[in-house]
């Protein structure tokens, strides 16, 4: 009998969680505990030596958090996952497990502002340098590669630039140099895009966004494909005895989930950005309905994009789900939908954009995305404020850009609010 292949809508509900062994509880119990008792001193030693699998302390692993890890790994078609306290923590953990002082990263210039700051400022302090390139041009990634480059980092769909990455082409560049391609897949979520299918080696998520989906809870996940050859000579931390974990060779011992184990034991355990069990549970409530929600986010966003595109009060619209978007064909090849984010400019520029945001009644002015609620923001003055004008342009942030994360309210009500806010912005009421 061959194994049945379960569909994503089933995985989003079941993967990683079978009824609890102790109680038979069908829904996921919240194991809100810092620590776990050992059966004996021998058992404790075996756990610390990684000779048996089990829970020791919730900074390293927790049965509730582990369900989120396995579920996202399953939805991404990956081998294993490790969760963290936020998406930024996931990204930091992935990159710090790959790179060390003296190494170099090539990254998309259009990254989320927080990611740009992490690379350009924070990781630089630890001796890891980053070159930012035009994410629409795979040859720009190739041109920036150096002998000490250890990763390429980009978003599958940029926030808020909405730049679509040609994942397969950039994966080829990374693999030709023997380094992994790390993809932030937050904006599409695993329902719309699976970067591993196109050659990505590591996928990171801010689970705060569509995975959780309700704007309640911060979290992040790192997923590995299980396909990257870590023994190619460039990653001694994966193949040599670990001074941080009593001589374990992670790739040899754990094989195709060695990266995840090293991420857990050398980064999560040491830097401590662990996800709370309660948070993991709340995010998992969202993941159960992810397939349904993403369909509606995409449909509502497309309707808003179509509306804005025909409206004389609007100067420009950027939504890769529109057929005339320059990257629409690439998006169609890689994703089953364009997600819920779009951006536009109001006629009248920056000040009209600010009047639009202030004129909204139901749409919330805040800096999150992927909520059930429709959210609006002005990136140049908020999420990307730390960047200078040139960095903002490179990140795809125009001074007059309004970002909308289209929610799950009724489309008529969303369009009503857009209309009346445009009136307020352009003084045509």
């Amino acid at each position: 009998m061959s194994d049945h292949q379960f569909q994503p809508a089933t995985l989003s509900i079941h993967a990683g969680q079978i009824p609890d062994s102790a109680t038979g509880a069908r829904a996921l119990p919240i194991y809100q505990t810092t620590s776990f008792v050992f059966d004996s001193a021998e058992h404790a030693a075996a756990l610390f030596n990684l000779q048996t699998f089990g829970n020791v302390y919730s900074r390293l692993s927790n049965p509730t958090v582990a369900v989120l890890e396995e579920r996202v790994a399953a939805l991404e078609g990956g081998r294993a996952g490790v969760a963290s306290a936020s998406g930024m923590a996931a990204e930091a953990m992935a990159l710090m497990t790959i790179a060390q002082a003296g190494d170099h990263i090539v990254a998309a210039g259009s990254l989320y502002g927080g990611s740009v700051t992490m690379l350009a400022v924070s990781l630089k302090k630890f001796g890891i340098e980053t070159t930012f390139v035009d994410a629409t041009d795979p040859s720009a990634f190739a041109a920036a590669m150096r002998p000490n480059t250890r990763a390429i980092f980009a978003e599958s769909l940029g926030n808020p630039s909405l730049v679509v990455l040609d994942i397969a082409a950039v994966a080829d560049v990374a693999h030709a140099h023997g380094v992994p391609l790390v993809i932030d897949n937050t904006v599409p979520s695993p329902m719309l895009c699976n970067p591993i299918k196109f050659g990505a080696d590591i996928v990171v998520h801010s689970a705060t966004k569509y995975l959780g989906g309700h704007g309640t809870t911060l979290g992040g996940v790192v997923v590995e494909s299980g396909q990257f050859p870590w023994d190619n000579g460039k990653f001694p931390g994966m193949t040599e005895p670990s001074p941080g974990y009593h001589g374990v060779r992670f790739y040899e011992t754990f094989g195709d989930f060695g990266f995840t184990m090293r991420c857990r034991m050398e980064s999560l355990r040491v830097f401590g950005a662990s996800l709370s069990p309660t948070s993991a549970w709340q995010i998992l409530q969202g993941v159960e309905t992810l397939p349904l929600r993403m369909v509606q986010h995409c449909a509502n966003a497309l309707a808003v994009a179509n509306y804005l595109q025909l409206d004389p009060r609007v100067a420009w619209v950027n939504y890769p789900g529109l057929p005339d978007h320059p990257q629409h064909d690439l998006l169609q090849r890689q994703m089953s939908g364009a997600s819920g984010l779009l951006s536009f400019g109001v006629v009248g520029g920056l000040s009209a954009g600010i009047r639009f945001i202030e004129g909204a009644q139901m749409m919330s002015h805040l800096v999150n995305i992927g909520d059930t609620r429709t959210l609006i923001s002005h990136p140049a003055s908020t999420t990307h404020r730390q960047l200078d004008a040139a960095q903002q342009l490179s990140a795809g942030v125009l001074p007059d850009m309004v970002r909308i994360s289209v929610g799950l309210e009724h489309i008529d009500d969303i369009l009503w609010d857009v209309d009346q806010a445009l009136n307020a912005a352009t003084d045509r009421s």
Binding site: G16, G54, P63, A73, A74, A80, V82, T260
Partner: protein, 159 residues
């Protein structure tokens, strides 16, 4: 090699005596890890390693033998921690002593050796860790975020 969950479950349920060829006495080597784990889960481990054999040396409390042919009792499965090119003669010996399954560990993939077992209707697994697959099927691996592929509405076994 893609192996079905049902096949792995059958092998690990039925084959309870495992000769481990290349078992190291060094506690932080993967062969020691895996064997200690399997022993803790009720399997009998039979160390096979000429380096420690003779003079009654033991690993994990079990007598170590120099070769599969020296083991004075039946073994059901032979788990190989040797280089791929060294596996074929080990597989021939394993067949000769009546093993029902040849298991080649992570990174060990001798197709000829596997074919030898499969040709006789016996099981052959390659490039897999016996400990990882056990934990995947019977619990534990899910605690470290590995995608086990297990979807079930049956209560999890107690560890």
């Amino acid at each position: 090699m893609s192996v079905e969950l049902t096949t792995l479950r059958r092998i690990l349920t039925n084959q309870r005596t495992i000769a481990v060829v290349g078992l190291s006495a060094d506690w932080h080597r993967p062969s020691y890890f895996a064997s200690k784990y399997m022993q803790a889960h009720g399997y009998r481990i039979v160390p096979v390693n000429p380096r420690y054999a003779g003079s009654g040396q033991t690993i994990l409390g079990e007598t170590c033998y120099g070769a599969l042919a020296d083991i004075p009792f039946p073994v059901q499965m032979v788990d190989v921690f040797r280089r791929t090119e060294e596996v074929l003669p080990i597989a021939e010996q394993a067949l000769a002593i009546g093993a029902r399954c040849l298991w080649q560990q992570l990174g060990v993939m001798n197709a000829e050796a596997s074919a030898l077992f499969q040709g006789k209707g016996l099981d052959a697994i390659d490039n897999r860790c016996v400990k990882i697959e056990h934990a995947r099927l019977f619990g534990g691996l899910n605690w470290v975020g590995v995608n086990t592929g297990v979807i079930s509405a049956k209560r999890a076994p107690n560890h």
